[in-house]
Subunit: 386 residues, 2 copies
């Protein structure tokens, strides 16, 4: 096992009716800015629940944070924060709203000239406004971590940022809040969480059975409960709850502590979203089978372990077991309604060329955090997914 | 899954050489009281490492915290804290030193007349001195939770306490620090952690696959890595590291979030320690097989799941599989050198009578947190272990 530091102070409030406990967790007399997305929370009752729970606070609101939240939009929220002397941000939404709100929290306190430097130059975050979250979509894990990803429309760039100051003080996870989601968002959430686990699991063995078993437990839960949740005609509490908790645990630092992480699938996926607006999770489901195929020899040990423990593939040669695991993985994405070929999303070789040129211009020594996906590997992986 | 709150802000610093980072985590100019046990840290180099890392601080020390730490001893440390204006406690030891130090942290700030009320009357802890830990023994999980167990010698009482104020600010887990431990302490730690998991796992199903898979992963790690660590002639880093991380994860709130917990094994075990001084972990290994046998029908679902997933027992009738799982569990304890019969520890029926009388005097409606172990069940379980 590698040395590691692990720290995660987010208070999780999980279950039915938990939104009503908001007041216990936001300082009295706080000026609260409620941030949200396209307004679905006003249709499904979540907005009303939150506002009822916030009675007595000075509350402002900022809606319209889009999927793959835009730097340009978030900077408007920063103006509201400053004008209204906001001292607590309450994100009500999925990963995009949470990521965006984390950026608002940091950018509102940023002393430099251009808050984009937080992303482009990884400028150090010295302070941030406190934030909490009401999660409305199980997917990104943003509710229990301290990072986010922001897109600049002007330049079609999608970049990550983070700071321990950006851990939510609390996150409310009420699975019932997710009942009204369209199936597309359910399946996207499942795929997103699944690939988060794989980025931290399907790498190189470092003799870390706790982390491995935890990761495998999350993958099995996402496969079993995710498939049920996707197929059930009416939402089932436990199915939705188990997917939600698995998604949160998938990216809160725990399964990545002491092991090697990759994130090459995300780096390639981000570009597909940036250029074509394909849903984040869908890009991951497109790229992952290609990455697994391209690295099936280098990452053989973990891929065989994955085949056996997650898919119960115990027969056949090593090559056959690895190939079967990759097939099962892509089939899982397909079974929850995700199309995993670039051509199905009208993406052709020209886009791959553009992405590879961008990687080349950035002079990336490798695409992820491991040295085994270089720019030429990324090209092969993406071409394999046409 | 049941509703739950989960909060664990302990910063874990895991790995080789981590003690040298102490200064980053203790406020400059703090008056530090280093607490420890019988002095083994002075022989194995840990004391020297800690003192070197604390250079520049005003450091006092308090040694002699015994296994099953005594209220009487800890109150002497409280006097030191007050006399020396201590504002940071650094526990260097195993679960007893950590539990004891948490009690010192709370008792030093206690405004009531008798700090024993924190245990006997569960008096509310309003404030506590900050503490950190350097763990020297993987076992209790105290390094990543906010509770402890204290013994009053005068009355042979062993009681629990806890408060979110008692989470260590940080815990340093360097597996190399545990290399010099006698095998008896290694096996005790493994058994202790194993039963911690079982108390939160072998109860009743609430459809919580993430928690179940995590618990099973810890159990398998403790069996596999624990057996290797116990049997290896010279300490192996990964074996010790995996046992250490599994023990920490076994009792940090995570696998117990949203599920039913029991703790009846602990309640009975505590009495065996209080009356006979048997090592805490040994008492758990004595009691658990009896509890499993007595509840094999009521807790059938989880016991069968345990049999299949942890021990790979898939053949035979349900009765046979359950019986085999119980045999395997006791055999595992025996294989790491723990004697699991009361008679092997010179405990007879007279002690059981005394324990049952004490439970009766306390008018306990049930022994653990579930209603399925009443006083008469405890008697049968203990008699089964003679």
């Amino acid at each position: 096992m590698n040395n590691f530091d692990f720290y995660n102070p987010v208070k999780i409030l999980f279950g039915k009716g938990k939104i009503s406990e908001l007041k216990k967790h936001i300082p009295a007399k706080a000026n609260v800015l409620v941030t949200f997305g396209g307004g679905s929370i006003k249709k499904n009752g979540v907005y009303d629940q939150v506002m009822a729970a916030l009675e007595g606070y000075n509350v402002k609101e900022f809606g319209g944070i889009e999927p793959n939240p835009h730097f340009e939009t978030l900077m408007k929220a920063v103006e509201v924060v400053k004008a209204e002397k906001i001292d607590f941000l309450l994100a009500v939404g999925g990963g995009s709203v949470l990521d965006g709100t984390k950026f608002i929290a940091a950018a509102s306190c940023y002393k430099g000239e251009d808050a984009w430097d937080i992303l482009a130059k990884r400028a150090r975050i010295e302070s941030a406004i406190d934030l909490g979250a009401v999660l409305t979509l199980a997917a990104t894990g943003s509710e229990m971590n301290s990072g986010g990803v922001i897109t600049k429309v002007a330049t079609k760039e999608k970049l990550a940022f983070g700071s321990p100051l950006l851990f939510p003080k609390f996150s409310i996870l009420d699975p019932e809040v997710t009942y009204s989601l369209p199936k597309r968002q359910i399946s996207n959430g499942i795929a997103d969480a699944f690939v988060h686990v794989m980025e931290q699991y399907l790498t190189y063995p470092v003799n870390s059975p706790v982390q491995d078993r935890f990761a495998e437990g999350l993958l099995m839960t996402l496969i079993e409960e995710g498939t049920k949740a996707y197929n059930s005609e009416t939402p089932n509490y436990d199915e939705y709850a188990n997917v939600m908790w698995a998604a949160t645990m998938a990216l809160n630092g725990l399964i990545g502590a002491g092991v090697q992480s990759d994130w090459a699938t995300h780096m390639m996926g981000h570009e597909l979203t940036a250029f074509h607006g394909i849903d984040h999770a869908v890009t991951l489901a497109i790229v992952l089978p290609g990455l697994m195929t391209h690295l099936k020899d280098k990452r053989s040990v973990k891929l065989l372990q994955y085949a056996e423990r997650v898919w119960n593939i115990t027969e056949g040669s090593e090559e056959e077991r690895k190939a079967m695991a990759i097939v099962k993985t892509e089939d899982f994405f397909n079974r929850i309604g995700i199309q995993t070929r670039l051509s199905q999303h009208n993406v052709g070789k020209d886009t791959i060329d553009t992405i590879i040129k961008r990687f080349t211009d950035r002079q990336l020594p490798s695409i992820g955090m491991l040295p085994d996906v270089k720019i030429e590997d990324a090209e092969k992986i993406l071409l394999d997914r046409l």
